[in-house]
Amino acid sequence: MQFDILIIGGGINGAGIARDAAGRGASVLLLEQGDLAGATSSASSKLIHGGLRYLEHYKFGLVREALAEREVLWRIAPHLVSPLRFVMPHRRGMRPKWMLRTGLFLYDTLAPRSVLEGARRLDLRSAPEGADLMESYTTGFAYSDCAVDDSRLTVLNARDAADRGADIRTRSRVVAITRHASHWAVRYRTVRGGEHEVEARVLVNAAGPWAGKVASLALGAMQPAIRLVRGSHLIVGRRLPHGAAYTLQNADGRIMFAIPYGGDFTLLGTTDQDHPGDPSSPAMTDAERDYILASANAYLREKLTTDDIVHAYAGVRALYNDGASAAKDATREYVLSLNAAAAPILSIYGGKITTYRKLAEVTMAKLAPHLPTLHTRNWTADAALPGGDFPMQGRDDLVHSLAARYPALEPALLTRLAAAYGTQTAAILGSARTVSHLGRHFGAGLYEAELRYLMDREWAMTVDDVLWRRSKLGLRVSDAEAEAISDFMDAQSSDHRLAAE
């Protein structure tokens, strides 16, 4: 069988394109070398934002697009997207107040019409959001943006694509690409060492940090202008009690976020470091760690130390190299490069979580002349992602109705599941009358029923897939518990293999 579209890369861009294309009637194969959202797409700041800082670079188009998109993503994924209030403390010598106020005013007015609260000025001496800050910060500005579960957004795009007929294969690494006049032949290797060859009419290179490598495999020596930039984040075991995030301006002109995370934690980041090396398993350097802590400590009343750190992660963004001198100024706008000299290949450089859906639409528009039988109507802005079939502000109602249906289950568990699976929570819990119906408990509220669902429906194959990408339970389970999960999953998958044989 020959696929219409073969997508290499199971990050947010690849998964988003798979979904869009499958919904237009294309036969789609997605190959991912590791796990879905295994690299950059699970290492973002987990924000859907209009890119306030882009205002300074006068990228109004990018800001407007991102602001409108924020609302769209909230509507189609109300389980994964949450409105979040941001407080930006002001300090003398920083961006002047007038600039902040005008910037935030523009931020509000560039958005079409919003159910989010508008921007306003705060007196930090009296506002609860000021309590965590040093007393020298007396004024701040509050505005609204959204937080998102980045890796689950990726997985649910893949799930929806599969529900619409796409074939998603993870742990499938492309090893050879052969171009023919009207089709591609692609060889890939699975985790167990088997090699397979597939054919497709169109190739989409959504490999993120590996996009250059894939382009070289497909087109030979032509090296695209790609720049790898590392962004690192820290998670600290402290809460911001008021529930708002901070937007902190650093002395070097960069912006740092401190974001309430997972109930008991705060996420700090990010950095922008050129990353010349191998994009696999990037690590935060001590210098980055110290930089993030120092940035936060310039504002926080109670200082953070390395003892507060519970987790750190780093991701590599592949940016189109527009020759900007500093990493922070490199463009975040995506670049799509189409080569249709023989069978077409479209390579994607850059992009961000907020604009993945638009990027998929633009991708499909570029590919339309090469795939004339597909629907040309854009549809993804109006269709809920799996489990997202409830109103934008209806997550509390969903939790209440789950609590009424599952009175024996902990409210905290139902709240976590509703924010991860939305209405699909009921598909996990089924007709459970007591907690024992959910099967074995692995710790931190992870039960066998959820684990089986993740393996059956969300391509979870290793313990890290479950603990760091399908959920963030890695922050809460012990090493022994993680090992038990790993053993369980191994036993299950060998059962599957035996059954298949």
Binding site: G23, R24, G25, I76, D160, A162, D163, R164, G165, H375, R377, W379, D382, A383, A384, L385, P386, G388, D389, F390, P391, G394, S401, R405, T423, Q424, A426, A427, L429, G430, S431, R433
Partner: protein
């Protein structure tokens, strides 16, 4: 060798025989009808079905030059929302209360509609089986003898095999089935005060319920030991027989009423209650709107305009321009089910002027019903249900004009399948799967060859219809307060 499908209709019992390539080789049917003992009541004796079996099957076998020895398996499909109480031996203790019966209004008065919506994906209604069970429990003179409650399909399966079993899709129409949990729901059972032991077990549509007993052999003329599949309702076997077996197709049935539905891999429940959710053969879910008077609206307008035939109606409508020069028809002659469910709503022509001719009125009816279809499709799509091409089925699909309007008003290509009644064929497909002639439901349903006619949307009409659709929505919204005021 062959597979046999039986369809228990309201007006007749039909049989269809499929060969091992799933080609239809013969059909037969025998007519009967319902009785209406009181206003709002509708019943049918289950003996009518049992008595029709042997002659209908015999006739179909004769027409295909086959014998009972050639039948590898049987499946039964048929009317939904019926209720047959039986005693411990399986004998019916009353006539079946059938789908159009609305007597059980008191039985649902104290049921929380949100519970039904959230758990079952249904709109609380006295037509569903749970309400009828509750009514019979209160009013049947011999309550203590009732051992099981059946729908018509499961009743017939039990008559042939002595097994009490109902498919997920059948169970999902009862108001007792948790559509995400895929089983009888204890709270729903409690709400209607029904004992789960008095309900059939639940199994997959194409799995084998049991084999034909000696009594079953007498009733059917088939061999004892022939496997009988669990079966399903006609709302599901009909689209299955028309090849609707995967997400991505919008199934539109253009009969007297118009139904619009699509399939999903996951159980999605519409919190706005514009569409209902059912289980569907193949482990899928069927989300659809139960429909509005559509072909019926054309018949009504035909008689109003003294037009002799459906063909003449379409021909006249074709002479008016798209958008009807600002005339809108709201297709709510018996209440609205799109873009909202409003039982008190009534139909309207809005925007009449002296320049409007009969052709405009005719076209407005065709457009208004297509706009209601678009309401449902847009909702399905917003819920995340895959909606790609249209599949237009039923008698109304014979109108080229109507089909083109539907493609143009939605910007979607349409596959037109003018023969509509494929429920017995759908049953035959389940029999073929039960007999292992076909691997699974999807394979079987996609193997059936259909004479499809493709209608491509005319992109140049897009803006005209977009404007007309917006006008239709605005006018519906403007009329809404007048309906609730008259309530």
């Amino acid at each position: 060798m062959a597979s046999l499908g039986i369809d228990i209709g309201t007006q007749s019992l039909k049989a269809a025989i499929l060969d091992d390539d799933l080609k239809l080789v013969a059909t037969a049917d025998r007519g009967y009808g319902p009785t209406y003992p009181n206003p709002g009541w509708a019943e049918q004796s289950s003996d009518l079905w049992l008595d029709a079996l042997r002659p209908v099957i015999g006739q179909a076998l004769a027409a295909s030059r086959l014998t009972a020895d050639d039948i590898k398996a049987v499946a039964i499909c048929g009317q939904l929302d019926g209720c047959v109480p039986v005693d411990a031996s399986g004998a019916a203790l009353a006539s079946a209360i059938i789908w159009m019966d609305r007597r059980a209004t008191d039985e649902i008065a104290n049921i929380d509609p949100r519970l039904i919506s959230e758990r079952c994906g249904l709109v609380l209604d006295p037509s569903h089986m749970a309400a009828k069970i509750a009514w019979l429990s209160r009013h049947h003179p011999d309550r203590s003898r009732i051992a099981k409650w059946h729908q018509p399909v499961s009743f017939l399966v039990a008559a042939l095999t002595s097994e009490a079993v109902m498919s997920h899709s059948l169970a999902s129409t009862t108001m007792l089935y948790g559509v995400t949990a895929r089983g009888w729901d204890i709270e729903l059972l409690n709400a209607f005060d029904i004992d789960v032991r008095e309900l059939p077990g639940i199994a997959d549509e194409a799995s084998i319920a049991g084999t034909i007993t000696t009594r079953g052999a007498e009733l059917t003329g088939l061999n004892p030991g022939t496997p009988v599949a669990v079966g399903t309702g006609d709302d599901f076997s009909n689209p299955l027989g028309c090849g609707v077996c995967r997400p991505g197709v919008v199934a539109v049935s253009l009969g007297t009423a118009e139904t619009v539905a699509a399939l999903s891999e996951r159980a999605i429940v519409d919190y706005a209650q514009l569409v209902e959710t059912h289980a569907y053969p193949g482990g899928l879910y069927h989300l659809g709107n139960p429909g509005w008077l559509s072909g019926g609206a054309i018949r009504w307008a035909s008689s109003l305009l003294s037009i002799a035939s459906d063909h003449a109606f379409s021909a006249l409508a074709a002479t008016a321009p798209a958008g009807c020069d600002g005339l809108t028809f709201i297709p709510a002659l018996t209440g609205a089910t799109a873009p909202k469910w409003i039982a008190a709503a009534r139909g309207s022509f809005i925007g009449l002027s002296t320049s409007h001719q009969p052709a405009h009125l005719a076209r407005a009816v065709l457009e208004g019903t297509a706009f209601a279809m678009r309401d449902v499709i847009d909702r399905l799509s917003a819920l995340g249900v895959p909606t790609g091409r249209l599949r237009l089925m039923g008698g109304g699909a014979r109108s080229d004009v109507w089909c083109q309007i539907r493609a143009d008003a939605t910007g979607r290509p349409a596959d037109v399948l003018a023969d509509g009644d494929a429920s017995a064929i759908g049953a035959g497909l389940m029999a073929a799967v039960a007999a292992a002639v076909s691997r699974d439901i999807k394979t079987a349903s996609s193997a059936v060859q259909h004479a499809l006619r493709e209608v491509a949307p005319d992109a140049s009409m897009g803006q005209t219809y977009e404007a007309a659709y917006r006008l239709y929505r605005e006018r519906f919204a403007a009329l809404e307060p007048t309906w609730s005021a008259s309530n």
